[in-house]
Subunit: 236 residues, 2 copies
Amino acid sequence: MNNPTKPAVVLLSGGLDSATVLAMAKRQGYAVYAMSFNYGQRHVLELERARDIAQKAEVLQHTVVSFDLRAIGGSALTSAMEVPKDRPLDDPLGGIPVTYVPARNTIFLSFALAWAEVLGAQDIFIGVNALDYSGYPDCRPEYIRSYEAMANLATRAGVEGHHRLQIHTPLMQMNKAGIIREGMRLGVDYGQTSSCYDPAPDGRPCGHCDSCQLRARGFGEVGVPDPLYQRYGMTS
Amino acid sequence: MNNPTKPAVVLLSGGLDSATVLAMAKRQGYAVYAMSFNYGQRHVLELERARDIAQKAEVLQHTVVSFDLRAIGGSALTSAMEVPKDRPLDDPLGGIPVTYVPARNTIFLSFALAWAEVLGAQDIFIGVNALDYSGYPDCRPEYIRSYEAMANLATRAGVEGHHRLQIHTPLMQMNKAGIIREGMRLGVDYGQTSSCYDPAPDGRPCGHCDSCQLRARGFGEVGVPDPLYQRYGMTS
């Protein structure tokens, strides 16, 4: 597929997954509009990374939408609740982790939908993943399909019937190692990405939260050092 | 139905419709949490009205979420585009008016969904109306049903299956006169509400935008003067 003039909105958190998705959308020929969110996350540093990634990828526009989910609360990522460290990753009884942010992907996709409508874009990319984050309800394929159906009723395009909006989730069935391999093939600089839920002020990852652990396992399986660790002179 | 301890999130714009919905939810016995949005609308004055209405109704909490849809644009309500005046209301060829804000209800409902999840609420109320606003895609019943289906897959409750979230749209099939009659019966003070898309700095309605026209027609059909006009010493 090659769509040199086809616009797409790509949700870009500044993490490893969304940086890979951005590269995949570009490789498919989309004209990329990147969107990030400043929502009161404790790891707001990821926004600086998102800016670097968007700039390096030469996206057409990068919009950061700000709102404060701390007023709503309910998550370790937006409150004083502690981010769990060294939690076993594959605990089937673990349930939905406290780092789950209520309705976050629904909110993110809704802003992306608004922008897509204004841009006349039929395509939204989001880096959700059902394998590594099976604990988050809004990362499941059935949720995404349902969101897509709703989105096609929500907008001008839905009423006028002139195009169908698609939510692309190219990482849905990939594990972290597979994502990293694909990103390396596409030239993603993972040293620019930030995955940690609880980074130090200088951006150094904690190495112990779920997200750091998943990332480390991925690089371990691929058998290459994590360039982010190299950047900080850390051993992974 | 009487649910003295059952929480509900009520979307409150400060307009006539949502003030009526709030009164209806209270009458049904819900413990009301009101939510409003400061999104860059030119009629930001409605937020002061929302505060007054929430206070008078003694809601448990009133949260105002801020974000800037002007960065996304695409609507006369969030851009320098002019708000149409004296437009024929029943023009079947009019299509979707320029006052439509792309994906606005989807964004609003998504924040309500997040708050509902944190509160453990199963009920969200929104004052959409398929009759008077048939031009807005996100006011149609098929959209609301689809949103509800999505919402039930999006959240912790959806995964854990312990409750079903419902989107209540009590005004869906009512016309403006019917809404006003019901509100008067419930003691809503419509002098506290603001419907105008383009009010003067002192809050005086323009009287000519679609929203003012619909409101005037409603009060005309009911055969009572609009208390908002009385407040400003205007004739309706």
